[in-house]
Structure formats: structure tokens, C-alpha cells
Amino acid sequence: MCSLALFPPPPAPGDVTLYEFNNALVSGHIYEKLPLAVQDQLADLPVLTIPKETLKAHTRLEHSTKPAFIHHQETLWKRCLNAWRDVGMCGVLNEIANAEEADLQWMKTGSRWALALCHWVSSLHGSLFPHLSLCSEDMIAEFSQAVDWAGCSIRAFAWHPHTSKFAVALLDDSIRVYNTNSATVPILKHRLQRNVASMAWKPLCASILAVACQSCVLLWHLDPTSLSTRPSSGCAQVLAYPGHSPVTSLAWAPSGEMLLSASPVDTAMLVWDVSTENCVPLQWFGGGGVTYLAWSPDGSKVLAATPSAVFRVWEAQMWTCERWPTIKGRCQTGCWSPDGSRLLFTVLGESVIYSLSFSEYSGEMQGQVGGSKTASIVADLSETTFETLYGEERIGGEVHSIVWDPSGERLAALIRGNPETPESRTIIAVFRTRNSPVFELLPCGFLQGEPGAEPQLIAFHPCFKKGALLTVCWSTGKISHIPFYFVSAQFPCFSPSHSPVVALSSSSASVREQPLFSEL
């Protein structure tokens, strides 16, 4: 098992991790010049800072236009009709119970009783699944992959799967789309685009962005050749389903024809045929909802985490699932190996990474997920004290999110420090991984940002040619890119156009130390 004690000590305070080269993470001062070869490849990637102060806060919290009008007393009958249309049965009961008319005493008492019964039933339901009593913003903050969803200026981040283009969802409910090839930065705003929890670009498509909002899923159709900076809300397609809000997670099929959406409130996850807006609910009671979705890169399986101590792995051909109870808490996050044969996941309340292997996928075994009997612990990330030149540092804790790079060579884990001890901090640990012939997990190092900046979100660039590129959104609102230069063992590139940087690193990549986690 790999543990934090085997890691090299974190960089000196004030230093920033710049890149990985020759199997080691290089850190330095932020103003330090990067080597020329490194600089070349990163020149077109925008490094941004979006501080919280520049974002305009919500001017109005109320969604409806009601407060703008003078209050006008209508008849009870009419109000009930309106309440029925807006809120439903509960609204009607509420309206009757709070009516000022004197003559309907028995109706008022009756509706009060009915309301009380409703509340009691819902509280019973809530006691089974405590997350249902949260308000929707708290719920999103609870289940989001961002460390501090409610407070940080960046709420969600998504790389386009094929090009150097990414979308950033901000605190003010707008989304900005940055493209390395063009200077225009479209800003997406929509009436329904509130409290964005997650975003995903459609694969095998130029630019369709799915956005998980509080009340629905929005689908932005952006014209890649357009120069407009404010696409109209007519470009957005609204996918709404009753009882399916807030949406906290989205996943596109890697082949691009289906979209999955999940809400912690809804026990069903929805399979959307986006172009026709048809949806198929995949109902599975137990768990009380679905919080996080991850589709394996080969398209064969889907991880669906629930708010209770159980998660499911769906097989994406006949849509049957395997149920995995965990011991301690709910599954917080998970990621798939590139070939879809291994799932790494973490559980709330435990500072370890579990691994679950699946049998090799082929179309002949219809309707079987093929998971192994038990999950094994591959890394222990519990708190460890490092003695450095600058004093003692305590690092470790629960893992908030993990991402695996598309080549399967690097794994980044965002470790949230222990909230009780003030000196422990949120940090990113990077592992070197190998998936075949046996699974190996080796320590690589810690990533450190500018002083005072804590990592918020992490994502790997989907098609970085020279190794892997990790994008980190920091709590200061900065988005930085950290390249890892190596030659992929699985897909070696023989093209002569390689930079000397990679040529250098290839010689050192062969020198491997003793594997620290190995299946052998």
C-alpha cells in the first residue's frame, strides 16, 4: 500500500509547483522563468485569475417577478388556483390554511391538519435520508466536487474532450468559455442557470456544453466560429424533468449520444437522448438519490454514488447494476482507468483510496457488470507529519476528488485537511500509476500553489501530447496549469517532432524504483 509517508516532503513555503520533469516535481518562485521548452507548450493556455470581488453578486434572490408588483388581494378561490399552478397541492393547502377569510373555519382546520400530516411524512422520509432536509444550495455544496463550492469564485470547471477549450462556472452563475485559439471569451448567462454544480462538454461534437443547474439541465449550443461574446439564451436547450432538481452531476456517454443526469433528491438517474429531449429514468430505490456520476472512458460502465453508504456500478449496454455497500460513509468521488477495467473511489470519513477491478469488457457478456468481490485499499492518505527545513508540516485527510489522466499514468488526489487542526491544509497529492499488466501506484509529490491559495477543483487536460497536464482552480480564483512531462508507456510516440524536453525525460522514465503498490 502506498502511503503519504513515502512522499517527498512538500515544497518550501512560498514556492509554487511549476511542472514535473525527470520524474520529479519542480517547484520554484512564481516569477521564475520556466525553461524555454516548457514555456513554448504552455504559451497558448490561458492562466487566469478571477477574484471573487470582481463578480457581481446576486441582485435579487427571488426568482419570480412577484416582489416587483404591488400586493393585491384576490379572492381565495383565485389564489388557490394560482397556488395550485405554481406549487401544487401543498401550495393550495398552505393558501387555505393561511386564509384571512373568517367563514371557512372548517376548511382551514382541515388543511392545517393535512399540512401537518404532509410535514410529518416528509420528516419521516427526511429522517431516513437526512440530506433531503437540506435546502438545495446546501445540498449542492455538500455533494459538489469543488472543495468550497459556496464560497469560492469558481464553482465548476470542464475541459473540452478534444480541443484546448474549457468552461468555467463562476459564483455569479455565469459561465465563461476560454479557447486557446481565439481571443473571444463567450459569457453564458441564462435565466435558469443558477447554482451550477457541474458541467460537461459533449464528446464527438464541436461545442455543446451541458450545465447542471439548480432546477434543470441546460444545454448550450455554441457556434465555434461565432465571434459573439454573449450568446443569447436562445442557444440554450432546457432539459427539465419533474422531481429532478437540483442536478449535481452530469456525464456524457463517451460516444456522445446520451447524457446522464443525477440529483440527490431523485432516486432515478435520467438517460437523456439530448437531440430529441426524450429521457428514460433509471429507477433504483435505495440510497435516496444519486450524487455523483462517472462514465468510464471506454463507455462500458457508469459509477453512480448515492447519499447513503452505498454506490452502484451500472453496465451501460443493458443497464443493469451492481450494488456496492461501503462500511463507513457515502462514496465521495471516483474515477475510471482509461480502459474501464478499474475504478478508484474514496469514501467520506476514511482517508484511503479504494480500488475495484472489473473483468475485461466484451459485448458477449450482456447485462453483467463483472466486478470483483471486494475492493482493495491501494493508498493510505491519513495524516502524516513531514519534518522540513522550515518546520513541521502535517498533511493528509479525506480525499475530496480524484482525477486520472487520459493516458493512465498520473493520478491526482485532492486531499482535504482535517478541519479540527488548523495547521493541516488542503493539498493535491500526485501519484504515478500503471494499469497493465499489473496495477501500480507510486508516489510522485505534492502540488503547492501560491501562498494562501488552496486548491478548489482539479481536472486533467484530455489531449495533452507530451504527457499530462493538470489544471487546478485555486481558492483565490486563479486557474493554473501544471504539466507533467513523461513518455507514456502504453502509447509511445515515435514522431520526430518531439521536443528535447521529452527526449530527456524518456531516458529517466525507465529508471523505476521499487513498486509501492503492486498487485503482484
Binding site: 461534437c205 430529441t276 429507477q283 459485448g363
Partner: protein, 670 residues
């Protein structure tokens, strides 16, 4: 019903598979019948005040002989209903483009038979329901309550109107089901978005089915009550005279308000409706699920006699459409999930070394796609041609051209009209006709209070040949017609009101024309116009419907696109003999041409670019949005090929124009 299937009767191997599927679906719906019946009996005899007695009573009722007889009878009903759905199913929906076409469908002999049989079946189910409900509903003839006072010796039999009401409501519901079956295209078999086991699909749809049946039954009860209130005395009198039954004078007749406001009657009618709809809908749902289940066709025959059953052969022959759809679906599935079967597709024939499988499959897919391209091009050409003929001024065109097909229709008709109505027309009078159809006069026609100068101008023109001033309005009326259509895609009520308004405008104009000295009598014009409006109502094509009709079989093309593109993408690593490479230029060519044509189609002014909202209903309306699915999957298909092959595509020989297009796709700029 141009695409009626009826493929089960024909012989051959894949058809026998279909036969088995139909048999299984009927068997399951018959097996589920006792369950539905038990639930029905329990609910219809519900007694909340004596729960134990209620439960024991309903337990006892389940085994009685008449319940078993009813179940047997209803099994026959289910069988007949299923035979009708087998006979009427279609994988390509038939979409009526105008009201007249819909009317024609309703009075089509086949549909009349369908309706009559369904009405009879509905009556049978209602009879079973009445017998099982017991109480006052059980028999048609009951002893009169008033008979004892007259003379105790002879028992007079009276008509039980409650029973009659249930029977008639059953017939009404059956007929209504048949009508909705036609209007909602319930005979259309939609293929599922995701593959799921049959049981899971059934379980998923069941709650919605029950809910929709309950709601629908509620509306039906309302309609039955209204119908019975007005026409109830006819069947009552008829039955009582033919069966020599008296009418009980002590009881309230049911075609009065007090008679109809019987809660137990309404409740039991409602339950009977739910029972009927649920059993029939279950049979329909099971047939749909069984018929659209994926069927794996072998790619390569293991024995010589199996040659007819393998995928390439079926794709290239002309089987019933359902078989073709299943084969294409299987092609899509194998290209996505099964490396072993893909290998068979890429393999070479044993003696000779020809890639027969790949050639056959790719040829058929390309044929399908180029057929679609041809169809779209022809449609666009028709649209463009009409645009030119009807192009008096571009401003007008932009405003009123809402559907190309309407325009085609209009020009044709306006020519006919003007010819018939101007027998002695001088050549020069063609000019005012043209002038009238242009926008300046058209707009003055549109406003009820037009300025005197324009009126004068009009009068001047009209004076030239006053006998046909009625027909002058015709281009105008028709020009406005389609615009109204598009603005009111929702309901007929909204459609009506602008027409009335328009009628009023025309009326105004006609008045002025008359004042200005035409000979034509007012009534003549009015009659003529009202006829026109009525004709318009039936003949005008719904633009949305005609687009849907063009893409009604697009599911086939979507599968062909997906299967082909996935096979090509898989060939990058799996094709050992390079069989795909030879057809790659043709495939790219077809896809890019189709992409161009589809792009152009969506740029036509009438094509809405967004799919309409679909409410959560039991009926599948996915055929209405197939064109959007086609557009999306076409793009995905091209991207799948370009992302897999990348820069290697530059070596493929395609025309310069397509090369440019491909470059766009490679840079993700489409």
C-alpha cells in the same frame, strides 16, 4: 395506413421469430389478466367500514364461476385486440399532412373495421365488468319494482338502465380507444433509446400506464355522461322494444341530471373504464416491448441453409420493414458492443478472399443515406422553385413564406382559381392580379381602415374586370393562411379566431368594393369566401407535419449512420485486411454530402431549429423529433471518423470542397 406491417403471416425464418414474439406478448397479457381482474373486483366492492368482510368477500368472489367465465371471455378480447395491433403496427408512422388526410384515414374501411371491432370488444369488457361488479349492475333485465302493486302473479321484467349505461360506455370507450389509436399513431413502434431487459422496460412504463389510464378514463366518463344525457333515450327505447322490456317508472331515467348524478354509477363506470384501458394498454405495451426487442442476427452463416438469415443478406433483401429495422438496430449494436462480431464483418470470404460481408453492409447503408440525400434535395428544389414563382417582392416572401409546400399548393391553386374565374380575361388584367399580390396592396388589404387613396387605386384595378373580384381575395387569403397555421401550431381554437378576423377584413373590403360599384351581389361573395375558408381548413397542410413526414423513417438512417461510423472507427485498429479503406472515400463523400443537404434543410425558413417540448405522456411522440436526432447523429458520425483517423484523412481522396469540410471537422469547427 400505407405502411401496414402484417409481416407475421408471411413465411420464412425471421418472420417465425416475430410470430413467437407476438405469441409471447399475447400470452403475458392474458396471464396478467386474472391479476387485473382480481384488483378490479376488490376495488369495485370496496367497503372501508367493514374491511375484513370486504377482503373475505372479494377473496370468495375470485373463484366464482362467472368470474372465471369473464376472464376467459376477456382473454378472447385481448387476443382479438392483439391481433389488431399486429395487423396495424408500423415502424414508420404515417403522418397526415392535412385535416383532409386525417379525415380520410378515419373513414378508411380498415379503420372503420378497427373502430367497430373495438367498440364491440369494449362492450364485452363492460359486460364482464358489470357482471363482476354485481349489485344493481349485474343483469340487463330485472324484475320491476312497481310490478307487485299491479298484479302479483306475473312478474314483469324491466330494463336495468345501469347495466345498459355500462354497456354503452364500454362501447364508447372502445370506439374512443380506436380513434385515439389512429390519431396518436399508437400503431407506431418506437425503438427504445437504451437497451433494457423486457421486464425492466415493462416495470418502468407501468406506473405511467396506470396513471394515464386513470386520467383518461375520467375524461371518458365525462364524455359518456354528456353523450348519454343527449342521446341516451335512443338506445334505451330500442333495447326495451326489441327485448320487450318495460321501463321502470319508479326509478329516475338516467338521461336526466338527477339520474346521472349517481355517485356509485359514476364510480363504477370510471372503474370499468380504467379496467378496460389498463388491460388493453398492457397488451399494447407488451406487444411494443416484444416487437422492438433487439434480435442478434448472425453475420456469417455457420451452415449453408442459414444464408438467408444473416445480417448482410437481410439488409440487402427487401424484408418487411420491421425486420429491416431490427437488422439495422442489430448492426448498430454489434458495431458498438461486440468486437467478435465486428471481426466477422471485416473478415474475408474463405475461398476467394473477398470482403463480402463488409461490402454488403456498407453498400446498403450508403444506399439508404444517399436515398435520404436525394429525397431532401428534391424537397429543397421544390421549395426553391416555388419560392421563385411566388417571388413578387422579397419582403413579402420573407414574411409569408412559412412552408414551401404550402407555397406549392397555393400556386397551383391560385392558377386554377384565376383561370376558372376569369374566362374572358384580357391579358392586361394579369397585371393587377400580380400587383395585388405584392406587399403594398396586401398590407392595405390587411388593415380594416385603409386609406382612401389605396382604396381608389384598388377600385381602379377592380373596375377593370369586376366579375372576378371575389377571386381577387383568393391569393390574399391563401397568402395569409399558412402564416396563421404556423402561428397556431397548438390548438384548433386559436386557429379559428384569426380566420374569423381575416374573414372580417375581407368582408370589409368586399363592402367597399361593392360600394364602389361592382355588380357582384354580397351574398354570393360571402358564400364563396366561407366555402374557401372551409376548404382552407381541410386542405391546408400543416408545415410541421409535412416536415415530420419527410423524416418519418429517419430511425433507419440514424442506425445506418451509427453502425457505419462505428465500424469505420473500429476498423482503425481491428480491420486486419484493410477492407474498410477501399470504401472510406465513398463513405466520407456520402456523409459530407448528406451533412450539407441536412444543413441546408435546417436553414429553410419553415424548419424550426428546436425540438418541441414533449409532455410526459404514454404515447410515444419521438417520431416528431427524429430530424433533430438525425442531424445530431450525422455530426457525431463524422466526428467519430475524423477523431479516430485524424491527420490520416488527408490521404483519403475526396473532392476539394469536401476536403475543406473535413478540415473544419478536424479542427472541431462545425
Amino acid at each position: 395506413a400505407g405502411t401496414r406491417g402484417g409481416g407475421v403471416a408471411a413465411g420464412g425464418w425471421p418472420r417465425s421469430v416475430l410470430g413467437w414474439r407476438v405469441a409471447a406478448s399475447i400470452a403475458w397479457s392474458v396471464l396478467l389478466l386474472p391479476l387485473c381482474t382480481a384488483v378490479f373486483i376488490s376495488i369495485s366492492s370496496i367497503d372501508l367500514f367493514h374491511p375484513i368482510q370486504w377482503i373475505s368477500n372479494s377473496f370468495n368472489d375470485w373463484y366464482t364461476s362467472y368470474v372465471i367465465f369473464c376472464i376467459l371471455l376477456m382473454s378472447v378480447v385481448i387476443l382479438i385486440i392483439s391481433i389488431f395491433s399486429v395487423e396495424f403496427y408500423a415502424v414508420v408512422p404515417s403522418i397526415p399532412c392535412s385535416r383532409l388526410a386525417l379525415l380520410g384515414k378515419i373513414i378508411h374501411p380498415w379503420q372503420v373495421i378497427h373502430s367497430v371491432v373495438h367498440a364491440i370488444m369494449g362492450m364485452l369488457v363492460a359486460w364482464c365488468a358489470a357482471v363482476m361488479t354485481k349489485g344493481k349492475f349485474q343483469f340487463l333485465a330485472v324484475p320491476c319494482t312497481a310490478s307487485e302493486s299491479l298484479d302479483g302473479a306475473v312478474q314483469h321484467m324491466c330494463l336495468n338502465e345501469y347495466h345498459l349505461f355500462l354497456l354503452l360506455s364500454g362501447a364508447f370507450m372502445g370506439y374512443n380507444y380506436s380513434l385515439l389509436y389512429l390519431v396518436n399513431n399508437m400503431n407506431y413502434l418506437p425503438f427504445p433509446v437504451i437497451q433494457q431487459y423486457k421486464y425492466l422496460r415493462f416495470r418502468r412504463s407501468l406506473p405511467l400506464l396506470v396513471k394515464r389510464s386513470c386520467v383518461e378514463s375520467l375524461y371518458l366518463v365525462r364524455n359518456v355522461c354528456v353523450a348519454y344525457y343527449f342521446f341516451g333515450y335512443i338506445p334505451r327505447a330500442w333495447i326495451s322494444t326489441t327485448m320487450d322490456l318495460n321501463i321502470d317508472s319508479k326509478l329516475h331515467p338516467l338521461d336526466t341530471l338527477t339520474g346521472l348524478l349517481d355517485l356509485s354509477l359514476l364510480y363504477h363506470t370510471w372503474l370499468c373504464g380504467i379496467f378496460l384501458l389498463i388491460t388493453w394498454h398492457i397488451a399494447w405495451l407488451l406487444f411494443k416491448i416484444y416487437a422492438t426487442e433487439a434480435h442478434p442476427f448472425p453475420v456469417q452463416p455457420t451452415f449453408a441453409e442459414e444464408t438467408d438469415q444473416c445480417l448482410p443478406k437481410i439488409l440487402n433483401s427487401n424484408p418487411p420493414l420491421l425486420i429491416k429495422f431490427l437488422a439495422l438496430q442489430d448492426l448498430m449494436l454489434l458495431s458498438q458492443y461486440s468486437p467478435v462480431r465486428r471481426q466477422e464483418v471485416f473478415s474475408l470470404s474463405q475461398p476467394g478472399g473477398h470482403p463480402h460481408n463488409w461490402t454488403a453492409i456498407s453498400k446498403e447503408c450508403l444506399n439508404l443515406l444517399s436515398d435520404l440525400t436525394q429525397k431532401l434535395i428534391m424537397q429543397q428544389e421544390a421549395a426553391a422553385a416555388n419560392g421563385r414563382v411566388n417571388q413578387p417582392s422579397t419582403r413579402e416572401l420573407g414574411r409569408s413564406l412559412s412552408s414551401s409546400e404550402e407555397m406549392a399548393f397555393q400556386t397551383q391553386r391560385s392558377n386554377v382559381v384565376s383561370r376558372t374565374h376569369m374566362p374572358s380575361l384580357v391579358k392586361s388584367s394579369l397585371l393587377p392580379l400580380k400587383a395585388l399580390s405584392t406587399s403594398d396592396l396586401g398590407s392595405s388589404f390587411g388593415s380594416p381602415f385603409s386609406s382612401p387613396s389605396s382604396l381608389n387605386r384598388k377600385a381602379g384595378i377592380l373596375d377593370l374586370n369586376s366579375p372576378w373580384n371575389g377571386s381577387i381575395q383568393s391569393p390574399h387569403v391563401m397568402r395569409r393562411g399558412p402564416k396563421l397555421w404556423t402561428s397556431s401550431s397548438g390548438g384548433d381554437l386559436r386557429f379559428q379566431s384569426p380566420h374569423i378576423l381575416l374573414f372580417w377584413y375581407n368582408w370589409n373590403i368586399v363592402l367597399t368594393v361593392q360600394i364602389l360599384g361592382s355588380f357582384c351581389s354580397l351574398t354570393q361573395v360571402r358564400n364563396f369566401l366561407s366555402k374557401r375558408v372551409l376548404i382552407m381548413y381541410f386542405f391546408s397542410k400543416h408545415p410541421e407535419a409535412s416536415i415530420q413526414a419527410v423524416f418519418s423513417d429517419a430511425q433507419m438512417h440514424i442506425w445506418a449512420l451509427e453502425g457505419l461510423s462505428r465500424l469505420v472507427a473500429a476498423s482503425f485498429t481491428e480491420d486486419r485486411f484493410g477492407v474498410v479503406q477501399t470504401t472510406l472515400p465513398a463513405i466520407l463523400n456520402t456523409l459530407l454530402t448528406l451533412q450539407e443537404v441536412v444543413d441546408k434543410h435546417f436553414k429553410l425558413p419553415h424548419a424550426s431549429s428546436k425540438p418541441p417540448r414533449i409532455s410526459g405522456s404514454l404515447m410515444d411522440t419521438s417520431y416528431k423529433t427524429l430530424r433533430f436526432a438525425l442531424r445530431a447523429s450525422l455530426k457525431t458520425a463524422i466526428y467519430r471518423i475524423t477523431t479516430t483517423f485524424g491527420e490520416h484523412l488527408n490521404a483519403v481522396q475526396v473532392s476539394a470542397e469536401h476536403k475543406k469540410r473535413l478540415q473544419q471537422f478536424l479542427e472541431f469547427k462545425e
